[in-house]
Amino acid sequence: MQKSDYKNMWVYIEHDGKTAAPVGLELCCELRRLCDVTGDKLYAVILGELPAAETDKVRDCGVDGIIQVRGTGYEYFNTDAYANAFTVLSRKYNPSAIFVGGTINGRDFAPRFAVQLDTGCTSDAMELEYDPATGDIQFIEPAVGGKIMAVITVPELRPQVGTIRPGTFKYAPAGRKAEIELIEEEIDFDPAAIRCRHLDFIPDEMDPELDIANADCIVCVGNGLKDSEHLERYRVLARLLGGKIGCTRPLYDRGILPYKLQIGQSGVMVKTKLYISFGVSGAVNHTAGVDADMFVAVDKNPDAQIFNYCDYGIVGDMDEVCDEMIAQLKARQG
């Protein structure tokens, strides 16, 4: 296999037939940057029908081309048809890299077509760099609970496959190219050959308290929390600030707060005006999920890593500081 035979980078545009999931657009924006460095062309791959207005959003992200796949088998997500489509396309066009959003379904089928293509697959990179000496992409990601950063490469095989968590890269469209190539492919997958079929979907009841991705203010509680008995004060503070409560992974693991409130790379990525952490140590996996205009950290350990990410830090007992904030904010509000 000659690496140089493989050119161009692809981004899978996940969608539900109505709208494109943000992660596909985010990846197009980041890959535009990388392709400008490597000289590759950037293609968005769309399986099944997506409304024109949504496809336009993809175009706005600076793609050089769109590969539109039509055929049977794409009505609902299924691993078999989706993995097959990428295998067929990849064998035909030999891309250098394929990026898939690290959603539940993205993580389900991407490693599968990587095996079909007998190539390397990485997941959860937080940064993408290009090494001109080898021609390889460096997938940089936190490992071992965020204690280290690891550089991962696919040194011999192609395409380089990567799944990237939603929210890792910013959605910042570079603008539409004057010419956008449209490749239309007809790949039928026999619906009878789909081994895991969709029967029904039951949407979650929307609990506004659990929708924290774009909350104006987030009070994030970490593993420093003694037990759930001590949690209420943080809810009170969040309410006073007109915000919502979130947590780090250990609190979800401890069963104190639900998964949907877990902030970080493997949970929710949040964008907020004011973020205040209490008892959060500051592992990369968590801080990678926080995009805050103002970042305040409170922890009893003066050496906690979280203070490297904050605008303002207070060393102290989290409960005491929280109580004092509540008292002073109440006094201010009269």
């Binding site: 003694k226 037990d227 759930s228 008995e229 401890r254 069963g255 104190i256 005491e320 109580d323």
Partner: protein, 477 residues
């Protein structure tokens, strides 16, 4: 009731001069949490001022000022008590030891550690382990201070094998009410040298003096441990199993009792149903969690095999093994969450911490449940089955506070009478504070209660140390 004075600006200035501006708090600057412990139902009382002390000398200076001016002084650690012990009933000064949290020195030859009173139990436990040692007392509240543990003679889960806090205190440095500094005990394991004021000080709840330094006994860390969960159909079958464990010479480190209700609450609270509610298609009525320590895995296996045999004879539903680190973590997280799990889904709560002879546990539990039913109060309980120490919680979410208190008083009055009938004690490890004083008085009788009062007067003639607690009935709440 003794005559106390208010903290005048002059006295405040003197106190401030001892600790400096940053550790002296007055009026609104006092932490409102100082008005209560973890049982706010017994009333909230704000002190007039508070100091965070850092040394024996500071405590001594403070006591001299307060003694000269008849200012009440209530010593406080982490405030995790359950009987209002650290609540300043008479106002005055709260003297907080939380900043005296240093582990001063290990003596590895004699297995002794010298520490300050504000060291948290969990910190001492962890630090000792890192030295290859174990601090055996294991009260449930790990964020309590060790000073508080000594003042209440806290017990905990491992008391079955190792005894209680008292058994690990070798020496204390104490500041008396008038500011004199005395040392009680020596760093040796035997003594036959006069009245033991050391043991008088232990469990005295800050009414006889302020502990400012302690020398604690440690033991080598056990090499390995394992726990077995033994579920039964009924509480009676479960409890009658406890003496059999002891008689089988299995020397368990702890025997913890949990009934079906508490297991359900805890599972809902921690989100991890590690203790099963059904076993072999039968509902579990109650379980014991038995922990063994030993030199190697074989020794533990042999103990478990023997436990399995007697469990079968006792009609246990099964014997489940908690051996992996993850399962141990989950099991102890669940066990440690019992109180907070109760608190989490309860608005009004009151508790009792009685000790009854082990064979009387079922009789007492059945009685207390019937009292709960009669009075419309939800009863939750768990406890240290191995030593008969039961934690019983009266809970309600619907009643008004006054109505709740009235009903609980009926239950408590009857329950403590029943406890006395069964030859039990008022408190196993939470102590008396002000909440349980009337029951102590009933339990020990007038002669003993009066003797306690006379001893108090010897140490603290002006009654300035923690007024209204243990045996000081002159201060009525």
């Amino acid at each position: 009731m003794a005559n106390y004075n208010k903290i005048t600006p002059e006295i405040a200035a003197q106190l401030r001069a001892v600790v400096g501006d940053k550790r002296f708090f007055e009026k609104d600057a006092v932490d409102p949490n100082y008005s209560h412990d973890e049982m706010p139902i017994y009333g909230k009382y704000m002190p007039d001022a508070a100091v965070d002390v850092e040394s024996t000398e500071e405590v001594s200076e403070i006591m001299k000022i307060c003694s000269a001016n008849r200012i009440p002084v209530t010593c406080r650690g982490a405030g995790t008590g359950l009987v209002g012990g650290c609540v300043p009933l008479a106002g005055g000064l709260v003297l907080c030891t939380r900043r005296m949290n240093k582990i001063l020195e290990y003596d590895m030859d004699n297995l002794v550690v010298r520490i300050q009173p504000g060291v948290l139990l969990k910190d001492l436990a962890a630090d000792a382990l890192s030295h290859g040692l174990m601090y055996p007392p294991d009260p449930g509240e790990k964020t309590a201070t060790v000073g508080g543990n000594i003042s209440t003679n806290a017990g905990g889960m491992r008391a079955v094998k190792y005894g209680v806090t008292r058994d690990y205190v070798l020496a204390l440095k104490v500041v008396l009410a008038d500011g004199r500094i005395i040392e009680l005990g020596k760093s040796v394991c035997k003594t036959s040298s006069g009245y033991s004021l050391l043991h008088l000080m232990i469990g005295s709840e800050g009414t006889l003096g302020i502990i400012t330094e302690m020398t604690m006994k440690l033991i080598p860390k056990p090499i390995c441990d394992v726990s077995c969960l033994v579920p039964f159909r009924t509480v009676e079958e479960c409890i009658s199993f406890v003496p059999k464990i002891k008689l089988a010479n299995l020397d368990p480190q702890s025997i913890e009792f949990m009934d079906a209700d508490i297991v359900t609450s805890s599972a809902a609270f921690t989100g991890n149903p590690i203790f099963p509610e059904r076993v072999r298609s039968e509902d579990v009525g109650a379980s014991v969690l038995v922990t063994f320590v030993g030199a190697d895995e074989d020794e533990l296996d042999q103990k478990m095999i023997k436990l399995g045999q007697i469990a079968k004879e006792a009609k246990a539903l099964d014997v489940l093994v908690v051996a992996t680190s993850s399962n141990k973590k989950s099991a102890w997280a669940a066990r440690s969450s019992f109180l907070t799990a109760i608190e989490a889904d309860t608005k009004l709560i009151d508790e009792m911490d009685v000790v009854v002879p082990v064979d009387k546990i079922p009789a007492f539990l059945i009685y207390i449940r019937s009292l709960g039913d009669e009075n419309g109060i939800r009863i939750r309980n768990f406890g240290h089955a191995g030593d008969g120490n039961l934690h019983i919680y009266c809970c309600s979410n619907d009643l008004e506070e006054e109505d709740f208190k009235r009903r609980v008083k009926i239950i408590m009055d009857k329950a403590y009478t029943k406890c006395a009938e069964l030859e039990g004690q008022v408190s196993g490890e939470h102590s008396i504070g002000h909440a349980k004083m009337v029951y102590l008085r009933e339990s020990v009788g007038e002669d003993v209660f009066a003797l306690m009062g006379q001893i108090k007067a010897v140490f603290d003639p002006y009654y300035i140390l923690n007024p209204g607690k243990v045996c000081d009935s002159s201060f009525s709440v």
